[in-house]
């Protein structure tokens, strides 16, 4: 009798801690001030964006610097559906996911013709095309952008406080959903294949994994999640313009920084990275462009000297994993044999 076990002691503790943290966070409207809720919701969106980028670049090896295409697309779709078709904003955000996935299919068919680093710049060109098209749509404010009309915002909830609670819970729920889907994906047989691609693409292919198909699926799935987050982000901002919606700094540079610092190719990395990013931002953002300069330098240093990021260092030193993602082969009767770590 053989079976595969995912959990380890550290992951059992990790899952218990996450459950507690989720309850505390879900109750945040009852203990947190308005600013705390706003900050937490923003942190959630970055955790979600970074986790999605990590899935794309860290596991599937698709280094995109153009995910702002889908953030902006989701944002603009929210504004278009809410303002032009009278759709409820929350429904519009949920629709932004499948819509972004649908758009991602032809985009992927085009840019998958580019390899490696050229793929990265190709994704950037696509994002630029989206930005330029958005600035041509005059009913959505053209190049200068537009605010979400007050009537739509007020209609969302009976009071301002309830509306803020609603957005907060939506941010938490969507982030948990996205992380849950990523964890489920990584625990499935596709996850084993993705981990194999992460470690050695050629070896994965020669073991019978359809690498291109899997990458395609991951790209479209990532667009799904990124599009929904885009809708949510611009519901919180209440104003959209081509430059903010398709900003390479906000939606790609920061996200890459977060993932690299936390640990690329590990599910815990983006979460740790987001916490570090926000601590740095809250303390150093007065420095303006110097702060961004330091961020670039830190990312380079981490990439050169600790390419697996901070979580990678911790995991290697202590063998911890917060989520049960490893696979260990257990053979009953025999002593427990640790399998290859995933």
């Amino acid at each position: 009798m053989m079976r595969v076990e995912h959990a380890t002691t550290s992951s059992r503790i990790g899952v218990a801690l996450i459950a507690v943290a989720l309850v505390v966070l879900a109750l945040a409207p009852f203990w947190g001030a308005r600013e705390t809720l706003r900050l937490l919701a923003e942190i959630f969106t970055y955790i979600a964006l970074a986790s999605l980028w990590n899935l794309l670049a860290g596991y599937a090896g698709l280094v995109s610097v153009g995910q702002q295409a889908f953030v902006g697309f989701g944002g603009y779709l929210l504004f278009a559906l809410a303002m032009l078709a009278g759709v409820h904003p929350i429904l519009a955000i949920l629709l932004a996911g499948p819509a972004a996935a649908l758009v991602a299919v032809p985009v992927a068919m085009l840019i998958f013709r580019l390899r490696g680093a050229y793929f990265a710049i190709g994704t950037w060109v696509v994002a630029e095309v989206f930005r330029l098209i958005a600035s041509q749509i005059s009913v959505l404010g053209g190049g200068s952008g537009i605010s979400l009309p007050a009537a739509i915002v007020i209609a969302m909830a009976p009071s301002r406080q309830l509306r803020e609670f609603e957005t907060y819970w939506l941010a938490l729920a969507l982030t948990v959903l996205i992380l849950g889907v990523i964890v489920a994906l990584l625990r499935s047989r596709h996850g084993l294949a993705l981990t194999a691609i992460r470690d050695n693409e050629l070896a994965a292919q020669s073991n019978g994994i359809d690498v291109t198909r899997l990458k395609f699926i991951v790209y479209v799935l990532t667009a799904f999640g990124t599009g929904m987050m885009g809708g949510l982000i611009f519901l919180m901002k209440l104003r959209i313009s081509p430059d903010t919606a398709f900003s390479v700094n906000d939606w790609t540079a920061f996200v890459i920084f977060i993932t690299v610092i936390g640990g690329i190719g590990r599910i815990e990395g983006p979460i740790i990275g987001t916490v570090i990013f926000f601590v740095m931002r809250q303390t150093l953002s007065d420095l303006g462009s110097l702060y961004l300069l330091m961020m670039g330098a830190v990312a380079i240093i981490i990439m050169l000297w600790a390419p697996k990021g901070l979580w990678g260092l911790i995991a290697e030193l202590l063998g911890w994993q917060v989520l049960p993602l490893q696979r260990r082969l257990l053979i009953s009767g025999a002593a427990e044999k640790p399998g290859k770590k995933s």
Partner: protein, 289 residues
Amino acid sequence: MTEWINVILQGVLIGGLYAMFAAGLSLIFGVMRLVNIAHGDLIVLAAYVALMVTQSLGIDPLVSLILVVPIMALIGYALQRGLLNFTLGEDILPPLLVTFGLSIILQNGLLELFTADSRKLQAGAIEIQTFQMMNGVWVGVLPLIQFVVAVGVIAGLQGLFYRTALGRAFRATSDDQPVAQLMGLDTRHVFAMAMALSLAVIAIAGVFLAVRANFDPSIGPARLIFGFEAVIIGGLGSMWGTLAGGIILGVSQAIGAQINPGWQLLAGHIVFLAILALRPQGLFPKVSG
């Protein structure tokens, strides 16, 4: 009719500048399979170096090339030996992310030093000199010089690649790095020379960019994208292909702008995507991958 001839001619001439953006990118990709995300920001850096040189010495921008080209080449050599050589390997992630970080550092460093104000290099009377090529078709002297220089740069790189010892070292390293090393080539030095050469081309492109139009620290990424599009349109690995790619991009943008000013950049991107869809290997491919 003459209006369209004018539009296309302007597009061809600006295409020369795009070809220079592309040549440096194509060169280092060819030699070490490195895609430099900071390429556009280095072009802007060259423009600011030229600004400092012309202001402090009071010389003409085109004359300043005598200093700007070696300065940028030195920066390139140091950058490769001091940083980028450590990122090269099987994994494509480190060079990509390190040059991305470099791009952010350059943009914000320039912003800190020179503010976000638009600058321009003054080249004097030559900027507005034109001559009539045919009835109703006028050509600016400066754009023409820029185009001729671009053709010269491409021809020079082509000659260097196929006729000199350094070019032989580039090709050998490109074909098979371990064997090149076994034959006694110091690949760290070869890579650094390639980056120095790339930044020398960037220096020329940066000066012409700065004479032609206003620049500020944020315009780098768009130059990277133009150069990249010209490389892919022309076909990877082909130097003359990058010239053709640059011209096609320049003409598409000029035609787009003529139809609707908002479509200038969009037209260029769409032609790029169309070529990617119909002929992904580019028009004049030489190497695959």
